[in-house]
Symmetry: C2
Subunit: 240 residues, 2 copies
């Protein structure tokens, strides 16, 4: 059975303007690979309702799981929750359980649960909360969409609580052979090799380092034995 | 007149599997912001022809410029050039000027321009070459799509040669006010502020650092005077 498929939607002007370098995509990609869920596409869109709504609809229709990051804080530019509700045409309002979490958090810290903070308790109808052990304000799951924070420490905590609940396939394993030859030299035999191992994915990534010109050949698959057979064949093919 | 719009398409399994952390998106985002071109969307797709073709068509129809990175090397998994040709339904073959560039390069280095390397001279009909001062194999421009390499040093060199040829708007300037107060505290007055300066974009980004809980308020716009007025007002609003 093929692995489940997933997409990610990164929401935020700060990524597209170059102000912030996104870290969540790389983190999620690694975690999904370990879980045997195939990340097929990532989109980054700005804090713009029509763009977010269109992307949520497209990705949620095309893939089994969609993970979003960003736009669930208390400020006026945090519009993700409302956009998710709009994408699925469901109502959204402050929800009692989310409000109670925030109330307890701000009571502990002696701060006021004001109108702005209460925005973080706006949850679309029918959603399940995702725990936030870092700063309390929850994420949520609606249909096949997992809505999480953009702050990397919070995003990572939410991913850690969500991933164990998903049924993944066999983890995708990868093995790398480093060859000190340019891609143009190895491309012919490597193409033949890839056609012999069509059940594996074979990629080649050039490097130039310390004056050395070489290629990292990466073979990916979920069957460890089959990977070993392939790596032996690859080693024989490119033995120096 | 509004700034021209742009999208980026990152092509490569190595990003989606988490093996490689993409660096090109952040680089391009910063360069476009300086050039007064608004990056509106980024997509990352795998080395899969239907996915690449669909993304090229969607982005090229929706935005004024599309920049791609990845998949133009000599190995079997480098399928970008063929996908761009397919997306626009134009023929593709080895082109004489691209072959001559490669021939000269490999003659200089005493290597053979073999079948695999010759793949890098496959250029869709009607495209214009993009110079590659790092490793010679060219990128190309077809319609509104700029096809560039994934290796960061090559990508950056190609961006540097392409951007000056594009007509941008006024560069997007940004100013940041660091406030040692949580987002929930500032969200109310910040929302009023954003409504007073609707010609500027106002974002808020929380930070937790060394036990301190605060917010970076970022104001973006292309009119330096207007930004100064806004920052003065913001400073008065959040003076400690």
């Amino acid at each position: 059975m093929p692995n489940p498929t997933a997409a990610m939607l990164v929401i935020g002007d700060e990524i597209l303007s170059g102000r912030t370098r996104d870290a969540n995509m790389h983190h999620l990609a690694g975690q999904l690979t370990e879980s045997g869920i195939d990340l097929k596409e990532v989109r980054v869109v700005s804090d713009d309702a029509p763009a977010i709504i269109a992307a949520v609809r497209a990705l949620s229709g095309a893939f089994e799981h969609v993970f979003t990051s960003g736009g669930i804080g208390p400020t006026h530019d945090d519009i993700t929750a409302d956009c998710i509700a709009a994408a699925f045409d469901v109502p959204i309002d402050v929800r009692d359980d989310a409000r109670a979490l925030l109330q307890a958090h701000y009571d502990r810290s002696g701060q006021e649960l004001n109108t702005a903070r209460l925005r973080m308790a706006r949850i679309p109808d029918g959603a399940t909360l995702i725990e936030n052990p870092v700063s309390t304000a929850p994420g949520f799951i609606l249909r096949n969409v997992y809505v999480m924070a953009g702050v990397p420490s919070v995003f990572q905590a939410m991913v850690a609580s969500v991933l164990p609940t998903l049924t993944g396939g066999a983890p995708l394993l990868s093995r790398t052979l480093r060859v000190v030859r340019g891609e143009g030299d190895i491309a012919g035999p490597l193409s033949d090799f890839a056609q012999e191992f069509t059940d594996l994915s074979v990629g080649s990534y050039p490097f130039f380092k310390d004056g050395v010109h070489g290629s990292n050949i990466v073979v990916r698959g979920s069957d460890a034995n089959r990977l070993s057979v392939a790596m032996d064949a690859l080693g024989a093919l490119f033995s120096e």
